[in-house]
């Protein structure tokens, strides 16, 4: 069967949609506003001269535009999204409803603190959940996302070393398998990065780490380790690692991107951790929103807690005060301010709504199911795929591309073929230490039936590859709103915005 071509370019329910700039009716607006109370102006000579160039659309056109765009997206609401390291779990709508309560949505960051005691209580309650779940002394709530939380943790470490007369400590030791944000964040603190390889088991080799610590002596500021690591494995020797790091006078930063695997089962304080960020948009179910926003509260040990950035909520008698200035009161040694206002408050509401819904018992069940689902996928997929490491894995499992050797099919091809099967592809080519990696994280919110459907598709693709049907893969995906896009063209001649001439060019190209 070949698909018919249509005059409209639409394919049934797959509806093409041009840019808003191509739907302009000059003077049109979808927003009616009341009349002006006065015609006076006090702008000085600062009036804008000339039009901006924004298109005019009516409300029905705008609603249709974004509805059609939304239909070109894959999402966790519509299907299985096994992106390793990203924790794409169900996003409960209760969270959205709670964040939209007028008492949370319609409050201003600078209204008197006496009139925002409920907001203070919410932040404090969310903070208490996070410190209790981690066993840590304090939490800096303001970091906006995971990378921002890493930055917070490393800055606290820098400030602590400075306060202890250890400013010569400028080296961060990071495993090769780390997320790219780790070395990027270290650089923002003026640190240099030394990497250590993973051993054949996919874990940090403690002998290598000890050697590195010895080599760099009293210049090591911290060791950053993701745990469970990016190979989906728990660093068994975590406590020994922490002891070695502390013996060297350095701090132990744990990247909390994978906290979902262990939440409610152990407290990272009991592993000897000094700082860890928590991605509320992963572990605590707040939506990814096509790229953000997230929140990256950073839990800190007692040694680092005094350096936490402002603002912080402080209990005072029956109520709360907001400590907003570094250098004063409880924020005497605070390293400064990392973000405007009080942090990602709306994300805190959603995360707290989730934590309260789950309860400590539900969270333990969730990490158990997340790990069970990942191990189940690993067991079943191993029928055709080649796992990179021996199990059990934690919340995600990683396969290498040995099973594709000699087939002419690549990891990328498998991923694109999965799109035609109706699944979002797993994370590919990460971690870098695994050749042709496929990193699969199912999360706890997938049913066994959903996992089985995915297994059926992926196993059939693996068999197809082994049968020498490489050509079919190179054409994939064929059923998605767009087929493979030319990224080389996009990068060589970047078109990053609409301009009238660029559109004319596109129209000509289409004709």
């Amino acid at each position: 069967m070949t698909l018919p071509t249509t005059a409209s370019g639409h394919k049934g329910l797959q509806l093409e949609q041009g840019l808003i700039f191509e739907q302009d009716t000059p003077g049109m607006t979808a927003v009616d506003l009341p009349s002006l109370p006065t015609s006076k102006q006090r702008l000085g000579d600062m009036n804008r001269n000339g039009p901006i160039g924004l298109p005019g659309l009516s409300e029905p056109e705008v609603v249709r535009h974004y509805t059609r765009l939304s239909q070109k997206n894959y999402s966790i609401d519509s299907g299985f999204y096994p992106l390793g390291s990203c924790t794409m779990k169900h996003n409960p709508r209760l969270n959205e409803k709670m964040a939209r309560l007028p008492g949370f949505a319609e409050i201003h960051p600078f209204q008197p603190v006496s009139t925002a005691q409920g907001a203070m209580e919410l932040i404090d309650t969310c903070a208490r959940w996070l410190t209790e779940l981690t066993g840590m002394a304090a939490v800096a709530m303001s970091p906006a996302a995971g990378a921002h939380g890493e930055f917070c943790g490393l800055m606290c470490i820098h400030a602590a070393h400075d306060a202890n007369g250890q400013s010569q400590r400028k080296v961060i030791i990071v495993p090769e398998s780390a997320h790219g944000t780790n070395p990027a964040t270290a650089a923002l603190c003026g640190y240099t990065v030394e990497s250590i390889p993973a051993n054949a088991e996919g874990r940090v080799d403690i002998a290598d780490l000890r050697a590195k610590l010895k080599e760099h002596g009293d210049t090591v500021a911290a060791v950053m380790i993701t745990n469970p690591n990016t190979c989906g494995l728990f660093e068994r020797e975590c406590i020994e690692i922490a002891d070695a790091v502390h013996a060297a006078g350095a701090y132990f930063y744990m990247d909390g991107a994978n906290f979902n695997a262990i939440v409610g089962r152990l407290r990272i304080a009991d592993l000897g951790v000094d700082a860890m960020h928590i991605n509320l948009h992963k572990t605590f179910s707040t939506p990814h929103g096509g790229g953000g926003p997230g929140a990256g509260p950073t839990v800190l040990s007692a040694k680092l807690a005094p350096f936490a950035p402002v603002p912080m909520v402080v209990k005072a008698g029956e109520g709360y005060v907001s400590e907003e200035h570094a250098g004063y009161g409880t924020a005497k040694q605070a390293l400064g301010r990392m973000k405007g206002y009080h942090g990602q408050f709306g994300v805190f509401v959603r995360a707290l709504s989730y934590m309260m819904s789950m309860g400590v018992d539900g969270l333990k069940q969730a990490s158990g199911d997340a790990v069970l689902n990942a191990n189940y996928l690993m067991a079943r997929l191993s029928a055709e795929l080649t796992p990179a490491f021996a199990g059990p894995c934690m919340h995600e499992c990683v396969f290498d591309d040995r099973f594709l050797k000699g087939t002419g099919v690549t990891t990328l091809d498998i991923a694109k073929a999965l799109i035609d099967e109706g699944f979002h592809p797993p994370t590919m080519y990460f971690p870098l230490v695994v050749h042709g990696a496929l990193l699969i994280e199912p999360t706890e919110t997938e049913s066994k039936q959903a996992l089985d459907q995915f297994v059926t598709s992926l196993l059939s693709l693996a068999r197809k590859a082994k049968e020498g049907r490489a050509a079919e893969f190179q054409a994939a995906p064929q059923l998605s709103p767009r087929r493979r896009l030319d990224e080389t063209k996009a990068a060589r001649r970047p078109i990053l915005r609409w301009t009238p001439s660029a559109t004319d060019g596109a129209k000509q190209a289409a004709e």
């Binding site: 990224e487 080389t488 990068a491 060589r492």
Partner: protein
């Protein structure tokens, strides 16, 4: 004189005191479609093994290191607008920069064609 090579896959061809530097056929193939090139400005002082230029594909970014010390005479002005030249003719029109050598003795530490061929054969094995 003939070509000399580094372990980082740069080549250099010397004519009198001036060396022309680029990346090898092997390097361009590993990078894939090259989308961006940054070449050094004339007059910049380079130290052997130091960063001299940048080359990027869609998914990878890499430094180009100078095989020899010296002063940049000229960056290849065509590359920023036509980075695909590096894919098409890496050891010809896709050269990156010309450098006036300050220590021709440094060339002795580089590989000749036979040694480089052997080196990449080992990498691919």
């Amino acid at each position: 004189m003939s070509l000399r090579f580094t372990k980082d896959h740069e080549w250099i061809k010397v004519d009198g005191k001036i060396g022309t530097v680029g990346i090898t056929q092997y390097a361009q193939a590993q990078l894939g479609d090259i989308v961006f090139v940054e070449v050094p400005a004339a007059g910049r002082a380079l130290k052997a093994g130091g960063e001299a230029a940048v080359v990027e594909s869609v998914k990878a970014a890499s430094e180009v290191y100078t095989p020899v010390s010296g002063t940049v005479k000229e960056g290849n002005a065509n590359l920023p607008d036509a980075p695909q030249t590096v894919n098409e003719d890496p050891q010809g029109a896709g050269w990156f920069f010309k450098v006036e050598l300050s220590d021709p003795g440094e060339l002795d530490g580089l590989m000749d064609q036979a040694a480089y061929d052997k080196y990449i054969a080992e990498l691919s094995a």
